[in-house]
Symmetry: C2
Subunit: 412 residues, 2 copies
């Protein structure tokens, strides 16, 4: 497959007239006047910008089905009266259509890979493959449902080596899993060189609880179990001490920031500048659609930048270039994916229509992508396959219809 005459970014500048050759799921050449051996009709890239596909570092994708079902409530009534009773009724079919609905949205936002923690990970994996996305998937584990732990390793064995799905380990949090459960999860992750995906230091209550009961912060506690390493994706990390930040840096753990969800649930604002000064690898996620309520990583970039500026009292903090790096290079590093517009990279890429007023004037494209982007993802390609072309995703209407049916069944 050949993309002709597209613009690419180089050191923040727009380079027009480039061709991108894709063969067998990989980018094999980027340059001028390239030829394609295949019979595929080339994709016309004129007026468009090619960027590597984005990674959404934290989702509960099936919860897209619960979007707008319960907002603006205190955390405990929200969980106890709304989310948990509904989740208790969730079937595989619900998860299948919730995941497919979420995939539609990811494709429309230029997200080619997501990292998920939820129930029914096999169904999630199957639905994701059918949709053609790349994903890091983990079945959620906590002690209230002891049967979940036993399903972790079989799930990993079933999906290990898959082209699109990378299985991972998903202990829900240090306060919902016993030490024994956490150590068991760590052992499985070590054995399979798998990532651990965990909610960490999300609320002040969580951190205060650990300090009182164990004399350690949740970060220090996980470190005492040997769980901080470069395969850890620690999500939220809102309430960190400077010592926690340096410990995460020393252990090369990854932090996934979810600013929008943290604001909406009033968990607080993560100390991202401190984390980045400590040289922690920070990337971005949206969290589930029931607490965001979309999966839009461009919105996440903007809100993260402006909220961090305000928190650190200087507009010079958190530049557009810096937040763009979190969403791209830092995410590639966290998930160990060879992404980028260069030969050898995975053919996960996105074309954005620059002929939109929010990209005009074409002054600083990275600033526009971070601060003014309000749509315009035109084409999404994953693993060399076109999932959306000129804004059209085949089968979209049917998926939305099915999702609506499942939602009505769940809430009836």
């Amino acid at each position: 497959m050949l993309i002709k005459n597209v613009s690419i970014l180089h050191s923040g500048q727009l380079l027009p007239g480039r061709d991108i050759l894709i063969e067998e799921g990989k980018i094999t050449k980027v340059g001028r006047d390239l030829k394609d051996e295949s019979d595929d009709e080339p994709i016309d890239g004129r007026g468009k910008l090619a960027i590597p596909g984005l990674i959404n570092g934290h989702t509960h994708l099936a919860m897209t089905l619960l979007r707008g079902y319960a907002d603006d409530m205190e955390l405990m009534p929200w969980l106890q009266e709304k989310i948990w009773p509904l989740e208790a009724k969730l079937t595989e079919e619900d998860v299948r259509w919730g995941v497919k609905l979420g995939c539609l949205e990811l494709i429309r936002f230029g997200i080619t890979c997501y990292s998920d923690m939820y129930y029914f990970p096999d169904t999630t994996a199957q639905a994701t493959k059918e949709m053609g996305l790349r994903a890091f998937l983990s079945g959620v584990v906590f002690d209230m449902k002891p049967e979940l732990l036993g399903q972790v390793e079989p799930f990993i064995r079933r999906w290990k080596g898959d082209e699109l799905i990378t299985p991972a380990v998903g202990p829900h949090a240090a306060y919902t899993c016993s030490e024994e459960t956490l150590l068991r999860e760590k052992e499985i992750a070590d054995r399979h060189d798998a990532m651990i995906h965990i909610h960490l230091s999300e609320t002040r209550e969580e951190v205060d609880g650990f300090l009182l009961s164990k004399g350690k912060s949740p970060v220090e506690y996980l470190d005492s179990l040997g769980m901080l390493n470069e395969r850890l994706a620690a999500v939220h990390c809102v309430w960190l001490s400077p010592e926690d930040c340096y410990l995460l840096a020393e252990r090369k753990a990854n932090v996934v920031d979810c600013t929008v969800s943290n604001l909406k649930l009033t968990s607080g604002i993560a100390p991202l500048n401190t984390l980045m000064e400590a040289d922690v690898n920070v990337c971005l996620g949206t969290d589930g659609a029931s607490s965001n309520n979309n999966l839009n990583l461009f919105e996440e970039m903007k809100v993260t930048a402006i909220v961090q500026k305000n928190a650190y009292h200087t507009p010079a903090a958190f530049s557009a270039e810096q937040v763009w790096r979190l969403a791209t290079q830092n995410a590639w590093r966290a998930f160990r994916l060879n992404l980028g517009l260069h030969a050898g990279a995975l053919a996960d890429l996105v074309l954005i229509d620059l002929q939109k007023p929010w990209f005009c004037p074409q002054s600083n494209i990275i600033s526009h992508l971070v601060y003014s982007m309000s749509g315009g993802v035109d084409t999404t390609i994953i693993n060399g396959k076109v999932l959306m072309r000129e804004g059209v995703i085949l089968g979209e209407a049917e998926i939305m219809e099915k999702a609506q049916e499942r939602f009505l069944r769940l809430t009836s």
Copy 2:
């Protein structure tokens, strides 16, 4: 003109299958099976939601030309090294194309009316009329450029009574205008029953300065000049005492909140819950594209809600319904416009395509408009004229080309 089979909102619920009849710039009927006397082909509303057009309560629309030109800088170097030198070179032609570019964006975001303060208000008015939008326009006035004050009343006389343009008075701020200038502006506004559009209590420095030099807050100072009334649009109001809030309420002054711009420039977070408890009429604006960097009021709604929740430490603060009210009813009240989907209202309305994944499942539509909306404005109608239909605005490419030319000239 007839819109057939569209959905409308009633008490937060979706009512499908409604027709909306538009005659001579007004909505004349909303109901079922309506007939149109005109020969116009009806607009098919199936799968779409009609909402009243939104009002962007604070812009510097010509500054859309400066989008992305200078970001992530401290306030004074940003103004002194970047914005002011460029503004010194601004011509009427620059303003014309900056405004038209801004109008494109407003139309795409479902904004049918905006309230502006900037240089060359006649050019802004002319360009806005050519584009077909409704606007409240004021020429900016401050003492550093004494010639501006003399232009205020002639501008008002020229545009008073226009169908689309309502002239207003725009003293930049209490700290950039002398008491004499402010009183002169007030006198003009009173004589013409015009609105006063002013930046107020935006930064902590501004408020501290007033308290030190006058022993009054900026709000109290304006009140001592008799400027607080229902024709005042006080923009920003980030640093208010509870007394300021009650004073604004007592005088029935309107507050225009610009959360995104306030965060990006690190001015702080306005005490909206306190303002609303005091029963102040608060509405929303984006500020100029050089400090936002777009004009998207849907984004403004979401960021406002989640930032206020976090600031007041409860997810129950600032519900979707509440922020939707700021963007609709409160704005109609501030600008004294008869809007809404009812007979007699101005035919300023917007059709939104509900067949987008971020509106699925169709659980709580107001929640979706506030928290998950990421595009889908399909048709924008102002004063009974269709400015965008199915996402197409005639002449859009030429305006973007001209804006790009003007930007290159300005920065060369």
